[in-house]
Symmetry: C2
Amino acid sequence: MIAKTPKPPYYAVIFTSIRTAGDKNYSKTSEKMIALARQQIGFLGLESARETIGITVSYWESLEAIKNWKNNSAHQIARQKGKDLWYQSFKVRICKVENDYEFEL
Amino acid sequence: MIAKTPKPPYYAVIFTSIRTAGDKNYSKTSEKMIALARQQIGFLGLESARETIGITVSYWESLEAIKNWKNNSAHQIARQKGKDLWYQSFKVRICKVENDYEFEL
């Protein structure tokens, strides 16, 4: 679903990735990491879709919240497995959301 | 593919959407709009994936480039069709990319 985020400013982490072949426990770990991210202080929401590339955008209250999540030990282990097993390439972009608007039928 | 963007700062527009049922000429217009966006001054790259939700992130040199693209007449017509035909809901977030890093096997 589209994340329900507060009025800007807030922060976004855009994680764009290309997977290697085979699951290699990726799906299970990915679900676990999303559940764990949702428990972090300052977490605001998450959106994700994958076709040729995967795009996951997580939203955060502050740069500090993003840093804390980056340093979370279970997340650090998962990130290392990402490099060792799951991703052919990825890019992470840390952004300040300055403005937003929405539409609903 | 993962967009090859320059060193930050630059800007990102995160467009998250849920489609209505049926194509209704969406795919063709979507391709046209991506081709047209690529021709705009200040355009840096684009990433897109759709599953339950669609996420399209476009990257731009400046807020002015984003504004010019928003005001492009063909894009304005497509955006109106988006509201009339193609989207059940969407959210647009305008972001300043402050930092990025990448990984490649």
